[in-house]
Amino acid sequence: MSWPFALGGATGLLAAVMLAGAPVFIAFLTLNLAGLSLLIGPRGFGLFANSLYQTATSSSLAAIALFVLMGEILFRSGAIEILFDSIDRLIGRVRGRLYVVTIALSTLFGALSGSAVAVAAMLGRSLLPSMAARGYDRRLAAATILSGASLAPIIPPSLLAIIVGSMADVSIAGLLIAGVAPGIVLAALTLGYVALRVARGAPAGRVEEGRPPAAGSAALAEAAADRPQAPRLTVARALLNLAPFSLTVFAVMGLILLGVATPSESAATGVVGACLTAAVFRRFSLAMLREALASTVTIAAAILLIICSAKLFSQLLSFSGATRGLVELAGASALGPDLTVLVMMLIPLILCMFIDQIAFMLLAIPIYEPIVESLGVDPILFWTLFLINLTVGSLTPPFGYTLFALKGAAGGALNSADVFRAAWPVVGLFLTGMALFWFAPGLVLWLPGLL
């Protein structure tokens, strides 16, 4: 069987089963069982069982579950609400301040949860209605949510970075740290865009005397808006409230940077940091911990099951000769590294409008990995751009899971046209950022170089 036929058949089968609505892990199992039967036969069944076992016992993947657990504890304990109030107080009562709060909160949420969809849904339901009620431009508010949430796969701790690192044989610690500067630059680009829009007269809310709303729930936000005499945090108190939260941040990022813990270990220390943060705020309870564990097991096991089911695909690609064929094709093309990378980035940009980021990663990484190697591009730089690109794909209209999440969460506050119009400037900002990182790679590679 020729490799283009095998590759085309495999991706076609995968797309068909996924689009039919079957769980993604079933789509990969179908592909692998069909591939084994055609390429190897029953002799390959041992390979199949071994692939599941090897992936499931890969301790580096435990970080996925642990990062989700850390986010769950912080959200469910209500510690995040305290953080919201503090950040909101420190930013001050300037015109358009809630745009800045939204960018800050969605960036922070994205960093902690690692899920753009989750952050977009959460802020779309909580912050957006309150901002609309306070006279902010709904589309610009939606754009800030989309932008901040979309930094989730980039700023550490990032689940997707861990998956990419483990699948592409790239330093996970390096890839995690590499996301810091691009995340900050993209957040700064969004801030610049908002400042420009506000300066040009975009609705930017009223300057209020009351306490700004907590972002944890719409009910809280609206209640706070109707409470002009509500006690207001002092700057000192707001700073004091941030201190326990820094425990969690240090337990994750600090311990990686100091070389005390591996990324997987830092995810576990981050869980302890989150528990301590919740305890300092007197929000820790065993019931909350039990709920967080149950929710984490559901999310993490569903993701990890897909990874386990997909792992054999890369081996089958090699066995069919597709990997070697693609490498030879990339090597033989006269496009040069710049254009080849551009083509390699266009594919996820388009495909991630339709398919899940993780599913696409599992399909693309085994194909891309040898091509990146043959091009001589720095793998940290390439995979960081790849991660940014995945997130751009999922917020590019008319499809994209982040868009759907925001639309669904906002309810009547936004229609589809609003969401799409909010998304386009963000897509433009992220693509501008990617071009900047490609032509100034030091922005990405400086921090990992310090490890």
Binding site: V17, M18, L19, A20, G21, A22, P23, V24, F25, I26, L29, T30, L33, F45, G46, F48, A49, N50, L52, Y53, A56, T57, S58, S59, L61, A62, A65, L66, L69, V260, A261, S264, E265, A267, A268, T269, V271, V272, R290, L293, A294, T296, V297, T298, A300, A301, A302, I303, L304, L305, I306, C308, F354, I355, D356, I358, A359, F399
Partner: protein
């Protein structure tokens, strides 16, 4: 009137899935504990363990495959429902049943293959490749369990919720 055997079986399957999901949660807590223990022993007592990494791997396998049946029972797997959302409800339901049928077939086949491997490993006395090896069939059996029971839940979705409804509509159920 006694409950039909199929309803009892279905209820037992639900209970089994919930029980193993709880065990998956305990395994996740165990992973946190082992990592923290390892960091603490290494940095405060300069006494790293030789077994924690391998047990974290075993526990991770348990998290995934002990949780899988309950996730399937709740229909909480990650799926792309772009097409299903655009179809008329009746066609959407048909597509969902086709997806479940494929799930039952594929997960069932995978469970059969992995069970066979577990049997072979037990017969040959295959151990894990670790500093402190344990019989590998124990872990392979957990994979087979996760896939096999998930296949049963997919199958239940194919035949509809009639069995569950029968169970819940019985007096005293």
């Amino acid at each position: 009137m006694s409950r039909p055997a199929s309803a009892l079986f279905s209820a037992a399957l639900d209970a089994l899935a919930r029980l193993s999901f709880g065990a998956a949660g305990a395994a996740l807590a165990g992973i946190v504990g082992l990592y923290v223990l390892e960091v603490g022993l290494r940095y405060f007592f300069a006494a790293p363990t030789t077994w924690s990494q391998e047990w974290i791997g075993y526990l991770l396998l348990a998290v995934i495959f002990l949780a899988a049946p309950d996730i399937t029972r709740r229909g909480a797997h990650i799926a792309i429902d772009l097409l299903a959302e655009r179809l008329a409800p009746e066609r959407g339901r048909l597509l969902a049943r086709l997806g479940a049928a494929l799930g039952a077939l594929v997960a069932g086949s995978a469970a059969a293959i992995v069970s066979g491997e577990a049997w072979t490993q037990a017969e040959r006395g295959v151990m894990t490749n670790a500093a402190h090896p344990i019989p590998r069939f124990l872990l392979t059996t957990i994979i087979a369990y996760g896939l096999g029971v998930s296949a049963l839940f997919f199958l239940r979705r194919v035949v509809g919720e009639r069995v569950r409804n029968a169970a819940s509509s019985e007096p005293g159920a």
